[in-house]
Amino acid sequence: MSRNLNRKELEEKEKYNALVQKRMDKSPLFLDCVKAFVTGGIICAVGEGFRKFGFHVLELSQDDNNAFVAIVMVFLGALLTGLGVYDQIYKFGGAGAAVPITGFSNSVVSPAMEFRREGLVMGTAARMFNIAGPVLVYGIGGSVIVGLLWLAFQ
């Protein structure tokens, strides 16, 4: 699908792209950052609440508590996604909704719901990790490499 462009065509493209950049409205950066800060901050504060609860009330060990908080936050993300609320939160908070683990949850739950129409096996199950796949691949893959390198440098 690639083709070789002559000089004139390339110049025309550059000129046009410059024109587009000049004319287009850019997202209001400062406002977006404020909204992201507040949204992300609130979600993390909620997580902190559960962390304290797990530690002080349920008296979980460090490891168990980490798992507990993860499960609870994923559950909240899933619930808000199911209720159709999380995408509104995202529309407002942007990265503030995407970066916390609730965003990971949203990215798994939304395709699961969406592709239900194509069946529970070929739809929901097959496409659940459509969006979140890369995070797992690079994250888990990276951890294996880290583990091996750590052993190598012992």
């Binding site: 993390c44 507990f68 970066v99 529970l120 294996v144």
Partner: protein, 120 residues
């Protein structure tokens, strides 16, 4: 007590702001930014740097995706220390199993219970 919440709010918020800046100023799709975050968490966790942030901000460091990466790296290193090469492979996943398994189960449940709705 309250200071913990404030720190979680601020640090967590800042981590999100960095991502927002990347989203607005570069043409990087959100998916790529999240991969960047988890990878950064893995690397920082591998060098033990992220731990100080976790000590300081608690959930403000563990809830964002960088915290996920950190958990992956620490889990891999710990298991590698206990079980060698096999541990390097099992450690990461074991450390984050709760979150991933929860996502699968709740995702499936949501698919059974809820219907997607058109956005306004």
């Amino acid at each position: 007590m309250l200071i913990d919440y404030v720190l979680a709010f601020v640090i967590g918020g800042l981590l999100c702001v960095i991502a927002q800046i990347l989203m607005d100023l570069t043409s990087m799709p959100p998916g790529r930014i999240l991969v960047l975050y988890v990878s950064a968490g893995v690397i920082l966790g591998a060098f033990g740097i992220y731990d100080s942030l976790v000590e300081l901000a608690g959930a403000g460091a563990t809830v964002p995706l960088t915290g996920f990466g950190n958990a992956l790296a620490k889990g891999a290193i710990r298991a590698a220390g206990e079980r060698g090469v096999i541990g390097a492979f099992t450690g990461g996943m074991t450390g984050t199993a709760a979150g991933v398994a929860a996502a699968i189960v709740f995702g499936y449940a949501a698919a059974l219970i809820f219907r997607p709705r058109t956005k306004k």
